[in-house]
């Protein structure tokens, strides 16, 4: 090795050393986030990562530790328990596990660390009464965002064909797909003046929240197939953005197609001009609330299903669920969409909790009868509101949708 190179290495090392030994802050509050995917997936995990940064900005001394891509394929050497062990070792006092994949493991580690607060995002342990005291659940009422997405799709479609890229099949994914369908039917009829029964609404489940080569169906391939089969709006229900990317490629090739991504506020960036908009989660406010409560010693167990802040569904400090219009939406359609959103707001409860979920009269937008499940059984009679718990635990897709309701 030349002496100059050696010298410069020594200099670099010397410069770095002070940076290494940063002083620990006294009023530091450490919180942990565990992601199932990469933190820059432009979807579900990135929305949580963004919320973590939001917490750091809004709570002095708050420091995030995170672990990304915790799944059997990307991190076979690590279990949730090991990640939590390390996070607790780093001083974390509250840990958010941000995937339904972690639900059972989170319940197990919550038992192991009774003094640490765990938040299993999208879980129902608390509602089901199986959670220890130090485990809470939060979720956003994305059903609103999905109804808006469905409406936007119905406004834009020229072929009457809408493709929905679903992840795996469970109650959450069924109710979200069904919400899109409800929004689409409504707007096809009320704004387009067309027969909603003419809509072709197809759901394809790829098998997981994101593409795992050879394990899941390839979302890129499935998006193409939607368009090849006559759909001109492709809507993503998965954590990543393949649907929009494919729509963008096809539009660039001259086809009239649009896409709607999911989860993350800036997800339209992948193909701005044909993006109709994106329904997204804004986890920041809920995280701040939880962390403040823990820090102030005021934690109580919650199961919170947080809705939009209807005065401004994109209020970053208040709204749990939002929708941003994309460039693909015409001004006329945007105005109609605003009208639609205002209509949803009229009946909406702001937050559904474990204490009020069974109170009658809580209406989640278009979840009103007459509605039949895919197998023909009645979900709600004409004019009957579907109670939030029935929406949460939706057992089937709705009549009129094409696609499987269960995995067999």
């Amino acid at each position: 090795m030349s002496r100059r190179l050696l010298l410069s290495l020594v200099v670099v090392a010397a410069l770095l050393l002070p940076a290494v030994s940063t002083l620990a802050q006294n009023d530091e509050f450490v919180f942990g986030l565990v992601f199932v995917g990469p933190r820059n997936d432009h979807g579900w995990s990135e929305a949580h990562y963004t919320a973590g940064r939001y917490v750091e900005e809004h709570i002095p001394g708050a420091r995030m530790v995170f672990f990304e891509s915790l799944n059997a394929a990307d991190a076979p050497e690590t279990t949730l328990e090991q990640v939590v062990d390390e996070m607790v070792g780093e001083g974390a006092q509250i840990i958010f596990t941000t995937s339904d994949d972690f639900e059972e493991d989170t319940a197990a580690v919550a038992e192991k660390y009774p003094d640490i607060i765990f938040v299993s995002v999208s879980g129902d342990d608390v509602l089901a009464g199986t959670a220890p005291e130090n485990l809470s659940n939060i979720m956003g009422i994305m059903e609103y965002g999905k109804q808006i997405a469905g409406c936007a799709a119905a406004l834009a479609t020229e072929t009457g064909g809408i493709g929905y890229l679903g992840p795996l099949i469970n109650a959450e994914t069924r109710r979200l797909a069904a919400s899109v369908y409800l929004g689409a039917r409504y707007c096809y009829e009320h704004y387009r003046g067309l027969d909603p029964d003419d809509l072709t609404f197809t759901v394809t489940w790829i098998g997981f929240w994101f593409n795992i080569p050879t394990v899941t169906l390839d979302p890129t391939e499935e998006s193409r197939r939607f368009i090849d089969n006559g759909a001109d709006v492709v809507i993503s229900g998965i954590d990543t953005t393949e649907a929009l990317v494919v729509a963008g490629q096809r539009a660039a090739a001259g086809e009239a197609v649009w896409g709607i991504p999911y989860d993350y506020k800036n997800a339209c960036g992948e193909a701005e001009d044909i993006c109709l908009g994106v329904p997204y989660f804004n986890w920041g406010p809920a995280y701040v609330d939880m962390i403040q409560a823990v820090r102030n010693g005021e934690y109580t167990q919650v199961w919170d299903w947080n809705g939009p802040y209807w005065d401004d569904i994109n209020d970053v400090d208040r709204s749990a669920v939002g929708w941003v219009n994309g460039n693909g939406l015409t001004e006329e359609h945007a105005a109609q969409l605003d009208e639609f959103i205002a209509m949803l707001a009229e009946t909406a409860p702001e937050q559904i909790t474990k204490d009020n979920i069974d109170e009658p009269g809580q209406q989640i937008g278009l979840w009103v009868g007459p509605l039949n499940l895919q197998n023909g059984t009645v979900l709600a009679a004409d004019g009957e509101i579907v109670p939030p718990s029935a929406v949460w635990y939706l057992e089937q897709l709705l009549e009129g949708m094409t696609g499987s309701s269960t995995a067999e």
């Binding site: 995170f66 076979p76 269960t406």
Partner: protein, 367 residues
């Protein structure tokens, strides 16, 4: 040709190995610097993650390393057998999954007292892995499908099958996994400090010793070696090449199945998609790197388990981009290849001499 190693040669070998380590550490440091992090910190965190720090050993973290090492070495041990026989058992990943699925079946639907329960699960896992491997073998010997292509297809099939089970007959509403197995059906950790299943650890150790002895000391092991080096010549020497190939695959399948069972019966406690987690492929890499020198396999596999498990700590403590860990792993591979390669090159002269010893007699080599 038999060669005695002098002390000087051994020292030289050691030196070359050390030089390769130093070189790869420098390379890693450079990459980390480019990622705007401190190499010292990174190395420190990895070593801490493995379980060693200024405060002494952390048994829990060491357990994490061992728990990853167990399935990895089981798979590597199996692959030693197939590589010896000249077979590219890419299907090892699917064999792990099948082992996991068979074990999961017993865990969910057979009810026995703990000891026979777990024993039956492990036996089922061995059976599942072996059957899946034999399928690849029969495709090869009877259907003429090369084991690489057959293996890849069977990997996919096993994965699709496990996902079907998880999302269908064995589904657990809400989660993408089978319901958790009851604790009598699980391999349990020794205690809360040393969180390692002694049964699994014993399986690993015994399996390696047995396979090592079998490859060294039995006629079957010698036959595999012959088949691996020249199938045609082995056949002409009277070796039942087809039967041996099938048996080698079956043995590898058994060990891969055992590895798969530790994933579901210990690591996760239920069946999950991709439960094999690429450990089979990592095993292929390890065995290739050792050049099927069996004694190196436990060491190199432990090294990989340590770096991977240690990186959990690294990721959380330094919040580096996760691809950096991949880079560190890549450099590790490079280092081993380098050490092998340099040594090989350095001793090429001696090798040539050995060849030449015959070259004197090899004038007729082209006759």
């Amino acid at each position: 040709m038999h060669r005695e190693e002098t002390g000087a040669q051994q020292l030289l070998k050691l030196g070359i190995g050390l030089a390769a380590v130093v070189f790869s550490l420098l390379l890693t440091a450079l990459v980390i610097l480019l990622a705007e992090a401190s190499p010292i910190d990174v190395f420190e965190k990895i070593v801490e993650g493995i379980g060693f720090s200024g405060q002494g050993a952390d048994i829990l973290r060491i357990s994490g390393v061992i728990n990853f090492w167990i399935p990895l070495l089981l798979v590597c041990t199996g692959l030693l057998v197939t590589f010896t026989a000249g077979l590219w058992n890419i299907g090892v990943e699917g064999q792990m999954m099948m082992g996991a699925i068979f074990a999961s079946y017993v865990a969910q639907f057979v009810f026995l007292p703990p000891v026979p329960q777990v024993a039956l699960e492990i036996a089922a896992a061995a059976l599942g892995g072996a059957l899946w491997a034999l399928l690849a073998g029969v495709l090869k010997t009877r259907g003429g499908v090369h084991e690489i292509f057959g293996g890849v297809a069977l990997n996919n099939l096993a994965s699709i099958f496990s996902i079907y089970l998880i999302s269908g007959p064995w589904s657990n509403e809400g989660g993408q996994a089978s319901p958790p197995f009851r604790s009598e059906a699980l391999l349990l950790p020794y205690n809360n400090e040393f969180k390692v299943s002694l049964v699994a650890l014993a399986l690993m150790v015994v399996a390696f010793i047995v396979i090592f002895a079998v490859l060294r000391g039995t006629r079957w092991g010698l036959e595999l070696k012959a088949v691996g080096k020249s199938q045609r010549s082995a056949l002409l020497l009277g070796v039942p090449t087809e039967r041996d190939a099938l048996q080698a695959l079956a043995v590898c399948g058994i060990l891969a199945g055992l590895a798969g069972s530790t994933r579901v019966l210990f690591t996760y406690g239920n069946l999950r998609p991709l439960v094999s987690g690429g450990i089979g492929f990592l095993g292929l890499l390890v065995v290739l790197l050792t050049g099927t020198r069996a004694l190196w396999v436990p060491l190199i596999s432990l090294l990989f388990a340590a770096v991977l498990a240690g990186s959990t700590r690294l990721k959380i403590a330094l919040q580096l981009d996760q691809s950096l860990v991949g880079v560190v792993q890549g450099i590790l591979v490079l280092m081993i290849i380098l050490a092998n390669g340099v040594r090989g090159r350095f001793f090429a002269a001696r090798q040539a001499a050995a060849d030449g010893a015959s070259a004197a007699g090899k004038e007729s080599a082209h006759e």
